[in-house]
């Protein structure tokens, strides 16, 4: 079935990220000078202002930082409501947004901040595999 949710418009300097997703890898931008990663991808390192940027493969593991349950939704996501959105703390220290998988949107109190999550990729189009995070069963 065709992917009917919003598909990101890809820029040019984020190509290594999207190439990575197609290989099942979560790539993070990393500064070649200060060695620190950042998210979202910049044209300049936000830590040391170097433009000498590269990429590294991330662990794909993280934790729930905070979350919410979307009930009133317009546009393409409307038919999915209610669903849980979450900000994820990556093991590498950066933070990503996701629609969280493996949780019950009707029992929000049962979702635990700090719970471990792992990335997975959904094939939205030939060129775009979108990362989503899922709560790890323990």
């Amino acid at each position: 079935m065709a992917y009917e949710l919003p598909i990101p418009t890809q820029g040019t300097h984020t190509r290594p990220f999207w190439e990575g997703t197609k290989a099942g890898k979560l790539m993070l931008p990393r500064c070649e000078d200060c060695n620190r990663t950042h998210w979202y991808p910049r044209y300049i390192c936000p830590h040391c202002q170097s433009m000498n940027l590269g990429w590294m493969e991330a662990s794909g593991e993280g934790f729930i930082h905070t979350y919410a349950v979307q009930h009133l939704v317009f546009g393409k996501w409307a038919k999915e409501a209610p669903y849980v959105t979450a900000y994820i703390d990556l093991k590498e220290g950066d933070r990503m947004l996701t629609v969280l998988r493996g949780v019950d949107p009707l029992s929000p109190e049962d979702i635990k901040i700090g719970a471990p999550v792992r990335v997975e990729f959904e094939v939205a189009s030939e060129d775009t595999h979108i990362p989503f995070w899922r709560v790890v069963e323990v």
Binding site: P8, Y87, I113
Partner: protein, 405 residues
């Protein structure tokens, strides 16, 4: 010791467009601007053609052409709802530098009417991250967030987790704000007669209202209505020549943190802590010297966090100001005496109503028959005002004090 800019300028007048709220007859944002400007100039006796500096969120050239004036200082700072507090800061600096004596800060936004006739405003101030091709948007657009509530809900959950608070704690903020609105005939939620959902509300009603983005119900969220407003800021010399009372700008500060919420380090804190520190320092005063506050309440959680950032409450205890009744009508520390963005009016950017209410309270004109019913005017002589723009990103804090006479 106060800083160099201490009381170097005053707000000398504040007015709104002729009609605000959920207007039956659609208005343009430009009309809301122009009516408010005309009204504030009439109020102060300053002719429109004496305005030397124009401060607005991107509108200044168009407005000046419309008004037929050619100011010598033009500022179009647009950082979201807090823009107007930043405008006051910038106007003060321009006046102190001797560049201008009379500054106009103006706002017009047809948040309600725009649904019928379209609108215009700075793009993307709600979500952050720039245009659709900006990398911040590229990496968030797949994940089902929409309007401001969808994002702000995450901050409330983090605050609840960190401090053991509950959404009901914040519901008191909505309830108390409504109590204030029932004293303000200009408030959209003044009464049942004015709006089907107007009039007093209970904490239970707040909690039981429609769920927007758990844990935010609709009564935890501000409205989106029509509003226009303007204030005039002048040098002390011009202020002394007017019949209106000056309200002195004792301190001003601005700061920013993230723009995209991805970069918000601490979901329970904003840059208001920094902008407040700058403002208090300029004023030579602190939170203990404040007698009331006007804080941005895009959501109940915004007001609670802001109160904490301004030093009015300990971290994690901001909501207690409302829950204990201190912030309520008749309380020891009034907050959001107009009814706030929750129950007075919020058109998309709420910074201007904050300035107008601060001027009215500190000039003793908060219940002259138009601005409020009996009980709305407080005895406060000092007020801290904080605007928050974007997604809890850019803040402007002002310390305002009443005239000595």
């Amino acid at each position: 010791m106060p800083g160099q800019l201490y009381k170097s300028a005053a707000i000398v007048g504040a007015a709104e467009a002729n009609n605000i709220g959920f207007l039956d007859e659609p208005v343009t944002a430009l009309q809301l601007h122009i009516e408010a400007i005309k009204n504030v100039c009439d109020q102060t006796g300053i002719p429109i053609n004496r305005i030397e500096g124009v401060f607005s969120t991107g509108w200044s050239p168009e407005l000046c052409e419309h008004l037929g004036i050619t100011p010598k200082y033009i500022d179009t700072t647009a950082v979201g709802g807090s823009s107007f507090e930043l405008h006051v800061h910038h106007a003060m600096a321009a006046i102190h530098a001797g560049i201008i004596d009379v500054a106009l800060i103006t706002h017009g936004e047809n948040g309600h009417s725009a649904r019928k006739i379209g609108g215009r405003g700075p793009s993307n101030y709600g979500m952050g991250g720039g245009g659709v091709t900006a990398p911040g948007t590229e990496m968030t657009m797949a994940y089902g967030l929409g309007g401001a509530p969808s994002n702000y809900a995450h901050t409330m959950v983090r605050h609840m987790h960190r401090y053991g608070t509950t959404s009901e704690d914040y519901a008191h903020i909505a309830k108390v704000s409504r109590d204030w609105a029932t004293l303000n005939p200009r408030a959209a939620m003044y009464s049942k007669e004015k709006h089907p959902f107007g009039g007093p509300i209970t904490v239970e009603q707040v909690q039981d209202s429609r769920l927007i983005a758990w844990p935010l119900t609709i009564l935890h969220c501000c409205m989106v209505a029509d509003h226009g407003g303007a204030v005039l800021v002048t040098s002390p010399k011009v202020a002394a020549s007017l019949n209106t009372k000056p309200v002195w700008i004792a301190g001003a500060g601005e700061s920013m943190a993230h723009w995209n919420m991805l970069e918000m380090d601490d979901f329970t804190a904003t840059s208001a802590a920094t902008s407040a520190q700058t403002a208090y320092s300029m004023a030579g005063m602190g939170p203990a010297d404040m007698e009331m506050a006007l804080v941005y309440d895009s959501f109940t959680i915004t007001a609670a966090i802001t109160a904490e950032m301004l030093g009015l409450a300990k971290r994690g205890e901001g909501h207690l100001l409302w829950k204990d009744g201190r912030a309520a009508p008749g309380g020891s520390f009034p907050i959001n005496t107009n009814g706030g963005g929750l129950s007075f009016n919020h058109s998309g950017m709420y910074g201007m109503p904050l300035l107008i209410e601060a001027y009215r309270q500190l000039s003793g004109t908060a219940e002259d028959g138009v601005n409020g019913d009996k009980g709305k005017q407080t005895s406060a002589r000092t007020c801290v005002v904080n605007g928050t723009g974007g997604t809890l990103s850019t803040t402007g804090t002002l310390v305002l004090v009443a005239d000595d006479d």
